[in-house]
């Protein structure tokens, strides 16, 4: 019983702390108009390190029933605790959009963030986006990917980073290709990275990296591959959503 009282007290204190915080923030916004739908403009499916800012802001747009952008509608962003938005709520600008900078929570995994607006009948319209937080191991894997793998496994070519993908007779699997890669076990992936393609009766164009990368490097690469797979891998950890 005493413990319960203590917890209640704790929550009450937490509550006051939170309410103090929101008081000091911006005054509550009043929407001038109401939209019918909310759509993503950009910023979904990004990677960032745990606790860090997404490299690009998230931009969402409110449309009316005809699909035309609505300026002056209120958008609120919410997500699991630990995720912060700057701003957390705003009115859409002249092009019907709101841009917010998002920092992900401290745990590696997928974060569901939700942007919501209110339509004419005061019903909540919601858009859910997913962002990916990389922990230490996945970040290390990401660096290794950039150094050793990305040139062939990523078909996107830029002037600064020319892709080798198109030059290969047997096309490598991009690491985001969840449909294929999720079917391979960690042991399969370890074997193919360590001993090269022929280890799984695949192309010799995939060289053996076992003498170049350490065991923990290879584990880090696999953790990265699991983290970025789309559709998500079962091994990627939980999805953090608002509770």
């Amino acid at each position: 019983m005493k413990a319960h009282i203590a917890f209640l007290l704790g929550f009450a204190m937490l509550g006051t702390a939170c309410s103090r915080k929101s008081e000091s923030g911006a005054p509550a916004l009043k929407p001038a108009v109401y939209g019918a739908a909310i759509v993503e403009s950009s910023g979904g499916k990004q990677f960032a390190q745990t606790g860090s800012l997404l490299p690009q802001p998230v931009v969402v747009q409110v449309n009316d029933a005809q699909g035309i952008a609505v300026p002056g509608a209120l958008i609120e962003f919410t997500a699991a605790s630990g995720v912060t938005f700057d701003p957390a709520s705003a009115l859409t600008d002249s092009s019907g959009q709101v841009t917010t900078n998002v920092s992900l929570g401290g745990m590696a995994g997928r974060y569901q963030i939700s942007a919501s607006t209110i339509d004419k009948s005061h019903k909540k319209v919601e858009l859910k986006l997913e962002e990916i937080a990389l922990g230490y191991q996945q970040t290390l894997g990401r660096r290794l990917n950039e150094q050793y793998c990305d040139r062939c496994h990523n078909s996107e070519s830029t002037a600064e980073r020319v892709s080798n993908y198109d030059n290969l007779e047997v096309k490598p699997h991009p690491f985001t290709e969840g449909d294929t890669l999720n079917k391979l076990t960690d042991a399969d992936l370890t074997a193919i990275i360590t001993n090269g393609g022929p280890a799984l009766q695949k192309s010799a164009l995939m060289p053996a990296w076992g003498n170049t990368l350490s065991k923990s490097d290879i584990q880090a690469l696999i953790a990265y591959i699991r983290a970025v797979a789309d559709p998500p891998s079962k091994n990627a950890g939980p999805i953090y959503a608002r509770n």
Binding site: G51, S52, V162, I239
Partner: protein, 695 residues
């Protein structure tokens, strides 16, 4: 009332038996308080929660076996760690709890360290000995050691790891920014190993600035450096018009002309955009200099200044002198001395002067400076500490101009002054100060930088790593970073290498840049004839790279002098150049090597030997490799590429001696047919130049 009290007293303490009984009860209850408090403690509550969480899992028995009740503690006297965090965070070491999202039961993500050897507070800060959430984490915001927010956690890696770490990009970026954005010119940062962090940027001397530019440009630049070049690292000092006027007056009046700093070429600057653009491309100016294109993207490197509006800045006669030999104006510059002829200087300067924005200086009109204005400008230059970064004749570099930051990461919160509405924590203070320094007091001299939010986080991370703990941790834990030597080649070749600024891009014996290959073992690697030819006309080795070796227009004697030095001095002790012949391998060996190349090792994935069939684009083209590299180098490279060039992307295939020998024979047979490949190479080069020009 009084009666009631009296009767109560009588009831309780009327006789000795009653009073004994009552006192005993009170005594018992008070004794029971401590165990009760213990029984209802937070950690016990969380441990119960954990037990009910694991009860229904398939691996419940294993988890149950690992579970230990009661207060847990990691005690590491030499690190000053007494961490009881594991009393509530019970599942930290349970690998199978990957799907658990609720705290405090999450497993700890994989890191290269063992929790039992480092504890928790070493990385996360907080009060390790505390056994309640509030006390351990951050109950009051004035707590000296609250939990470090996850976004700054890499700072803790930096307490021991002084060099770059692959897994901590944010810390690496912060340290790079600290060194190259000018912070270290004013703030001293001493590290726990006794060294002092050195700036990596090189702000220009202003002692002869009137040769280079006009007072109007200086005025506009001082008012808003990023308006001239958005990538500029010069911060905005938020000067008033009068202050900018007076500083520009002083800098011009204080400048002395430098002999040879202005040439009058007979050839006029030709504004021929096609010829200029192609010379700009061929000379690989874009490897170091960026230009903003019509779409607003920066194209080019960030070693030298951005050139988008360079025509607004430089005087034509200065630019021509600079292009002819930059070392006249700045002996230490990272810019190579290209040895352009007069026509090339005229073409290139015409092209660069055309990069201007007619609006940039349109509204700057300055009257002739008065002596008072000049004197005031001089005072301002001292006040703002301009000489911390720039050499200015007659002004001494100020010492201790700004607070030392060696231990900023442990600065007590009680010593900080926060802005209203700000969280009272050290990370918030540091990032707030970087974001908007003058907000903390209008009189502060720290200028306004134009960092992105991510850069501010990175800088804050790097600064938080500069703390007491980095001094107090056992020295055996410290991991040194890569140290920059002050290697300087000797003699005439050494002078030539300085003149060509080889070290701006190449690294040799631990000194120099990272843009181009490390040349420490170059003499063991390449053949003499090839190197001479390469100096005279650097061809394309790696088609995928956009930064390439430029042509410096060397004379024959310069090229052979450099080659001789490299061939003699830059030798790898494990590669004996003469141990394997350059040609004369048996056809059988060559054929075996070819099979290995295309089959077992599938080298064509990254390399091109036959331009008709191979497409590999990542490694160097190997059509001429037999006349470029030595056989001994190729053999050793096959055996272990990382032993020759650490970090190279070529995988180590642990080849047998036979395989390595056969591949060496095959590669040495690729001498580059004169007819088929030379034109291909030349046209490839030209195509690239055009591409650069287009961009």
């Amino acid at each position: 009332m009084k009666e009631k009290l009296t009767s109560l007293w009588q009831k309780l303490f009327g006789d000795s038996v009653r009073s004994f009984g009552v006192v005993s009860v009170i005594f018992l209850v008070s004794i029971a308080i401590a165990p009760a408090k213990n029984f209802f403690s937070e950690w016990r509550h969380y441990q119960h929660g954990y037990l009910s969480l694991i009860r229904n899992r398939s691996e419940a028995n294993t988890l149950q076996r690992h579970f230990q009740g009661g207060i847990q503690q990691i005690w590491l006297p030499e690190l000053g760690v007494v961490d009881r965090c594991t009393s509530c965070h019970v599942g930290l070491k349970e690998a199978s709890l990957t799907d658990v999202a609720t705290q405090p039961y999450r497993k700890h993500p994989v890191i290269p360290h063992n929790l039992d050897q480092f504890g928790c507070t070493t990385c996360h800060r907080g009060q390790g000995a505390a056994t309640t959430v509030a006390e351990a984490h951050n109950s009051t915001l004035a707590w000296e050691q609250p939990i470090l927010p996850a976004r700054y956690v890499e700072s803790s890696c930096g307490e021991c790891h002084r060099g770059e770490l692959r897994g901590t990009p944010q810390l690496n970026q912060g340290r790079t920014l600290l060194a190259r954005e000018g912070c270290l010119h004013c703030h001293i940062v001493k590290l726990s190993d006794g060294s002092t962090m050195k700036p990596t940027d090189d702000p220009p001397s202003l002692s002869h600035v009137a040769d280079k530019t006009t007072r109007e440009w200086i005025f506009a630049w001082l008012k808003d450096p990023q308006a001239y070049a958005s990538t500029s690292t010069m911060p905005n000092f938020k000067l008033s018009d009068d202050d900018a006027r007076d500083i520009s007056a002083f800098l011009i009046a204080n400048s002395t002309p430098l002999p040879g700093d202005a040439v009058q070429l007979s050839a006029k600057a030709t504004p021929d955009p096609a010829a200029g653009a192609s010379l700009y491309g061929e000379s690989f100016c874009a490897s170091c200099h960026a230009v903003q294109n019509a779409a607003g993207n920066m194209v080019g490197g960030d070693v030298g200044p951005e050139l988008t509006r360079v025509g607004n800045k430089v005087k034509p006669e200065w630019l021509q002198a600079w292009l002819r030999n930059p070392r006249t104006y700045d002996a230490e510059t990272a810019m190579p001395h290209y040895r352009f002829n007069d026509a090339q200087v005229a073409t290139l300067s015409g092209f660069l002067l055309g990069k201007s924005d007619s609006d940039f200086l349109a509204n700057v009109h300055l009257e002739a400076a008065t002596p008072e204005q000049i004197a005031h400008g001089k005072r301002l230059v001292s006040d703002y500490g301009c000489a911390s970064c720039h050499e200015i004749a007659g002004i001494k570099k100020p010492e201790n101009f700004a607070p030392e930051l060696s231990r900023i990461g442990s600065k007590p919160v009680t010593q900080l002054i926060f802005l209203p509405g700000m969280q009272h924590t050290l990370p918030d203070y540091i990032s707030g100060k970087i974001k908007n320094p003058r907000a903390f007091s209008p009189g502060l001299k720290m200028p306004q930088y134009s960092f992105t939010p991510a850069q501010i986080d990175a800088l804050t991370t790097a600064l938080l790593a500069l703390n007491e703990r980095s001094y107090s941790l056992p020295p055996s834990l410290a991991v040194a970073g890569r140290t920059e030597t002050n290697y300087q080649p000797a003699g005439r070749a050494g002078k030539l290498m300085t003149d060509l600024a080889c070290f701006s891009c190449h690294r040799i014996s631990g000194h120099g840049g990272d843009m181009a290959p490390d040349l420490t073992w170059e003499g063991s690697s390449v053949q003499r004839d090839w190197l001479v030819q390469f100096f005279k006309n650097p061809g394309t080795l790696r088609p995928a790279l956009i930064r390439r070796m430029p042509r410096f227009n060397l004379t024959d004697s310069e090229a052979s002098e450099l080659t001789d030095y490299i061939m003699t001095v830059y030798q790898n002790p494990t590669v004996d150049r003469d141990s394997m012949p350059l040609s004369g391998y048996s056809q059988g060996q060559i054929e075996l090597g070819k099979q290995l190349f295309y089959g077992k090792y599938s080298c064509q994935g990254c390399h091109i030997v036959d331009t008709k069939t191979d497409k590999g684009y990542i490694g160097p083209t190997l059509t001429h490799v037999g006349s470029r590299l030595t056989a001994a180098w190729i053999y050793q490279w096959m055996k272990n590429p990382q032993s020759l060039r650490p970090g190279t992307a070529e995988p180590n295939r642990a080849m047998s001696d036979e395989d390595a020998r056969a591949l060496t024979a095959f590669l040495m047979s690729q001498k580059g047919g004169e007819k088929s490949s030379t034109p291909a190479k030349a046209s490839g080069h030209k195509a690239h130049t055009e591409e650069v020009a287009k961009r």
